[in-house]
Amino acid sequence: MRNVIIANKVQLAYPRHEPVIKDATLTVQTGEFVFVTGASGSGKSTLLKSLYGALQIAGGELMVGGIDMQSIAGSKLNKLRRHIGVVFQDYKLVKEWNIEKNVMLPLIIAGFPKEVCQAQAQKLLNHVKLSHKADKYPPELSGGEQQRVAVARALAHNPFLILADEPTGNLDDYSSQVVWELLEKANEELETTVVVVTHHIPEMFHANYRHLMIENGVLYEIH
């Protein structure tokens, strides 16, 4: 087992603001499925942002995939991000691209040939049951469908780590089920480490998981 995330007394703060996270200490290993819960504004999304380098840490030590996240930037950060899959609450799909190209995005960035990208996108769109809408554009899809595309995109390049920020926050039951099944499958079959930030752990979720909670800026292990 390899340590994918090592956080030691990590502090996170937005510029000119008090720290949102005062102490986050944890170790996440390969193949673990981790839920991070907490009240609104507790810093769950902030913690996630620090894991893909969108927010610099204000204190402590943070290593992701063996890379020190302290003042990481430029090509080093890009390189790390090419091995991480992120699912955002607001999907972050490129509106002027069809959904097939959206799913292909991490593969295009990684420099794969077009045929490889298309084949992988088709396979993942099949998994999320959207292959019949491959040439549609994001605004033509429902919220649930868009989030399924976002999950497919996050999995496209077989990342070692998937970070998901409230992936089923606004979704209907069917879409939520598809999203959880896909994340579970990636975790079980590919040993992909998954960190999900959410308000509630879904009842339909069957896999083994760790549960962490943020309260008053401190990260606690529940089980």
């Binding site: 937005y14 942002k49 893909y52 969108a54 927010l55 090509s75 950060l77 890009n78 390189k79 790390l80 991000r81 090419r82 091995h83 991480i84 992120v86 972050k92 799909l93 490129v94 509106k95 002027e96 691209w97 995005l105 991490p106 960035i109």
Partner: protein
Amino acid sequence: MKSIKNHLALILPLFAILFAVEYLQILDRVVKMYEERLKAEYTIIVVTEKSVKPEAVQQVSPLIDKVELVDANQVLMRIRQQIGQESLAKLQSVMPLFYTITLHRYPDQKSLESLRKSLMALQGVKRVQMFEKVHHPLYSMLMFLKANVTIFALFFGIVGFLLIIKQMYVWQLEHQERMQIMALFGAPVWLRSGVLFRFAIVDALIALAMMAGLIFYLQRDHRVVAFLSDMNIDVAQLVIPKDFAQLAGVALGTALLCAFWVVARFKEES
């Protein structure tokens, strides 16, 4: 329609910059051609009491190309019929020596003055006649025009550069969402900002084609040709093929520099 307007917002300032660069080059060539003509037609007369070695005069300044003694007999031949033989002999005995000096290039007023002083310092030199008042006003006017055009070209360049950067920012804003998403998945700068570089290259080529078209038209416009031939300037000598390579460099260089400028200031939202 909006897209065409956006492209014109980059193409026109770039075209203005290219026009300024080419105009400056052409004016520079006109001044150089005039300098050549001045140089060919311009001579300095040095009057000496005794014979001096042309090499000694030549050493006075690197500006001096040739020093020649004027044949006194040729001068006296002209007045032989108007004065008597005795007077002619007397005149011949007291007549100084005249040397003509031609220069490598036509210098500015300061250099001419310095040359006059150096020549006057030579032993035996009585007088130096520069004739600068005949040539200098037109030359000064051309230099003044060149200085003014340079200032305007600089102004065009700065304003054009700012307008191009502004348009790049507009495009960046239009494509910001996609760029941000690509950045989150680790796309390198050149890939996520590819659209700006593509627009920069395409619009630079369009501006260059427009400039080439304008030059092609002006070279064949009978009014322009007639105006230049009045000044004894051959239009074919004013625009040379090398200019197009230079203009291509300026167009692509400016557009890409502006694109890099904007891309370098891209901030990822957190």
